[in-house]
């Protein structure tokens, strides 16, 4: 009965959302794949519909709900000014902006920023997490619903290199990863009040991976897979109780992806598994050390799994057995995770070069490039009929009207 209720609740929530919205890091289901069809493939200077300067730095992805695009940024010599900004997708005009002062430590590696974690939304609320562990909940009109300062609450929860893992919202629980070398945990937070539902100790290890939501193999209820150096730990979204685990190690940089009933996790290369349940271990389908992602996370598109290594090599594997099918040299280095639509992947390198890859070509093919000439570390977002890319200084819309 409980499972049915959860399913009904999730279905109700999902019904309110537009399938084309981009509500979290890597968009729908955290897959990085958009159902949008009419996106630009042949990029040129005219593909830039608008470009808006941002008030601060950042590498968080834009979140798109309907005709609004939400972006976070951090400014100030101490990066202690936190910005949450809402733009109209159509013309880039600013709808509202709210500023907050960081309540936690703001030190980070120069390559990253305090605005590193991608916000997420349930379609009504926007949940913004920053490297300073400030966790802010606003409605889509900029009204403040609740605020948390997680370093105030847990003073040793920080990473001097910077935190970057993104929160995910599942039903009425926000899952917030705060994993680091010292006071390391992931927590479930009530989306209405911001209060803790659960808080679970995690490996004392700097970690930048974003949780992945998968169904419980028995009940179908959502569980969230937490990934760190020792492996994977799948926990109940509502209680934080561990349902199943995988202990053969995992990346602390690139996050896993769940697609077509299979979880693909960076673990000594790539491992594909069917999720487990309480008392049921996950079923490993294949493992291939030739599909090792670097910073960017893997993406699954049209029956293939793709990874990017530090040299900018895009590797394509067959999702059935993990066999590597081809490799394509792209212009790196890449920090941004590729996103996809149709049979195309969008790659953006750290110098701002956008590359569109036709994955349907026999060996993959770069079909167009566009140099945005700015540092880009953040993963692009797709929504409102267009591609949205945030650079270190600006938000750019490609395509659309």
């Amino acid at each position: 009965m409980k499972t049915v209720l959860i399913a009904v609740c999730l279905a109700t929530v999902c019904a309110q959302l537009n399938a084309a919205d981009w509500l979290q890091f890597r968009g729908p289901g955290g897959t990085g794949i958009s159902p949008e069809a009419n996106l630009p493939v042949q990029l040129d200077a005219k593909s830039v519909t608008w470009k808006i300067n941002l008030p601060g730095r950042g590498l968080s992805s834009p979140v798109i709900v309907g005709d609004r695009v939400f972006v976070t940024a951090a400014s100030g010599t101490e990066s202690d000014r936190l910005h949450v900004i809402c733009f109209r997708a159509a013309d880039g005009s600013k709808v509202w902006e709210r500023q907050f002062w960081a309540t936690g430590r703001t030190m980070s590696h120069p390559k990253t920023s305090v605005a590193a974690n991608t916000p997420c939304s349930d379609g009504r609320r926007l949940f913004c997490l920053f490297s300073s562990n400030d966790l802010l909940c606003l409605d889509l009109d900029g009204n403040v619903l609740w605020l948390r300062g997680l370093t105030r609450d847990y003073p040793n929860a920080s990473n001097s290199l910077g935190m970057a893992a993104s929160p995910v919202v599942v039903g009425d629980t926000l899952v917030v990863p705060v994993e680091n070398d010292s006071e390391s945990f992931t927590m479930g937070v009530d989306v209405v009040t911001g209060a803790n539902r659960w808080k679970r100790d995690r490996p004392k290890l700097a970690c930048w991976t974003t949780p992945v939501v998968v169904p419980d193999a028995k009940s179908g209820a959502p569980v969230v897979v937490l990934q760190s150096g020792p492996g994977l730990s799948a926990v109940d979204v509502r209680t934080g109780q561990e349902a199943w685990y995988y202990t053969d190690g995992a990346s602390t940089m690139s996050s896993g992806v769940f697609s077509g009933g299979v979880l693909y996790a960076p673990s000594k290369g790539m491992v594909a598994m069917k999720p487990g349940a309480a008392g049921v271990h996950p079923e490993v389908l294949w493992h291939n050390n030739q599909l090792t992602p670097s910073t960017a996370s893997p993406v699954v598109l049209a029956g293939r799994v793709f990874t990017l290594n530090s040299a900018g090599i895009l590797s394509c594997g067959d999702i059935k057995d993990g066999r590597r099918l081809w490799q394509l040299r792209t212009t790196g280095p890449h920090s941004a995770t590729p996103v996809g639509f149709g049979k195309h992947l969008v790659l953006v390198n750290e110098k701002g070069l956008v590359q569109i890859v036709n994955t349907g070509a026999p060996e993959g093919e770069i079909v167009s490039k566009l140099d945005l000439a700015d540092t880009i570390i953040g993963t692009p977002s797709i929504g409102a009929g267009a591609l949205f890319i945030r650079s270190d200084k600006a938000l750019v819309k490609l395509g659309g009207s």
């Binding site: 100030g76 010599t77 509202w96 902006e97 709210r98 500023q99 907050f100 002062w101 309540t103 430590r105 030190m107 590696h109 400030d134 900029g142 009204n143 403040v144 619903l145 609740w146 605020l147 948390r148 300062g149 105030r152 609450d153 003073p155 040793n156 920080s158 990473n159 001097s160 290199l161 680091n180 070398d181 010292s182 937070v189 009530d190 009040t193 911001g194 209060a195 803790n196 004392k204 700097a206």
Partner: protein
């Protein structure tokens, strides 16, 4: 029967009292937000009320940040954002005179005063420009930084005009007021190029003279939570069993611009070890202060025998003012004990076993000990012969 005007006045006063009471209740609801989400529900309701107020409410909301915790300050400042967005979109004015009055009162929250300044500068850039030079010695770090930047700009112009005397004076004035590390670094560089001596450790308030002892075992990082003898007793004449032999206190003085105290110099490039640094701070008066530490090793710090904070993160980076810890100085002798733990990693970038510590106020202004010794011209670090006398 009372005249109509009296009744109207009475009704207006009553409404005003009710509004003030509601405002106070909303502010109180926001100021009570606490740990782990406590009070968020009430604060959000109050936020909705405040955000709907007109512009006249802004100075009152800013004043409510005085002594508010930083979460409450964020509720209040974002309510100001909402009001300002709406009022300016409706082409209504902000209460500029009241905001200027608010800024002039330095007892208010420095961040709130900075926000008030930004609002003024937004609607009246000329007023903002006019006010800026008045902030050169301001408790607000941001206001002060912008004012100092003007001094730096003037000194640079003098330098470009080959007027070295004016440039030297300009940079020296800028240094007097500068608290921002990037600005200080820039000014010090220019002054040194102009042949001037700059005592950066004194300017920052870094503690330069220490007694160090090492090394104790930190294999598998277990030493971080192991209370070695220096944590249990303060006896600078004592010797203890260390990891590599007898451990005894040695005197170290750092000449580093940023007050870096290097354990590797007296004890050798060791791994998997822990050491302690001790110093005294002779305060002129009782006052609030901040200990500001930079360290990429595991560390703990005790002030007047009380554990203030500790952190077991290794080699993820260090910088000036990485950790800020409020303390209360007592007049006369205050003691500071720092434990610095090194891990067992052998990569080149894990070699450092060091820390920097300064004493300053909330704006970053150095608080100097009454008997502060001159900054050393060169480092002194008696080589610890920790292997002698080993069992």
């Amino acid at each position: 029967m009372k005249p109509l005007s009296s009744l109207l006045l009475g009704a207006t006063l009553a409404a005003s009292v009710a509004v003030r009471a509601e405002f106070k209740a909303d502010v109180a609801a926001i100021r009570q937000v606490g740990a782990e989400g406590k009070g968020n529900t009430q604060a959000a309701t109050a936020w909705q009320h405040l955000a709907k107020a007109d512009a006249k409410a802004i100075p009152g909301i800013l004043a409510a940040m005085d002594d508010a915790n930083d979460l409450a300050a964020n509720y209040l400042r974002s309510a100001v954002d909402a009001i300002v967005d709406r009022e300016l979109a409706a082409k209504r004015a902000l209460p500029q005179a009241d905001l200027e009055k608010f800024i002039a009162d330095k007892k208010h929250n420095p961040r709130a005063r900075r926000l008030a300044y930004e609002l003024i500068a937004r609607v009246s850039p000329a007023t903002g420009e006019k006010l800026l030079p008045t902030f050169v010695n301001d408790p607000s770090v941001e206001l002060r930084r912008d004012a100092v930047q003007r001094l730096i700009g003037a000194a640079e112009k003098a330098l470009a005009a080959q007027d070295k005397a004016a440039a030297t004076k300009g940079f020296a004035d800028a240094l007097t007021y500068a608290r921002d590390e990037a600005q200080i670094k820039k000014i010090a560089g220019e002054l040194r190029k102009l042949g001037q001596e700059v005592d950066l450790p004194r300017h920052f308030g870094f503690l330069t003279h220490w007694k160090l002892i090492g090394s104790f075992d930190n294999a598998k990082l277990a030493g971080f939570d192991t209370a070695y003898p220096p944590e249990k007793e303060l006896n600078l004449a004592a010797e203890y069993d260390g990891k590599l032999g007898r451990a005894r206190w040695v005197e170290v003085a750092t000449a580093n611009d940023y007050g870096m105290v290097d354990f590797n110099r007296p004890f050798g490039d060791l791994k998997g070890v822990a050491g302690y640094a001790f110093t005294e701070f002779n305060a002129a008066t009782a006052r609030s202060a901040e200990l500001r530490l930079g360290c990429k090793n595991g560390w703990k710090i005790w002030f007047n025998g009380r554990l203030v904070f500790g952190r077991d993160e290794y080699h993820r980076g260090a910088r000036i003012d990485q950790y800020r810890m409020p303390v209360e100085l007592k007049p006369g002798r205050n003691t500071i004990l720092v434990k610095v733990c090194q891990n067992e990693e052998v990569k080149d970038w894990t070699k450092e076993w060091e820390f920097q510590l300064r004493v300053c106020d909330a704006s970053g202004t150095a608080i100097l000990a009454k008997d502060r010794l001159p900054t050393p011209k060169a480092a002194t670090n008696a080589k610890a012969d920790s292997k002698k006398g080993s069992k």
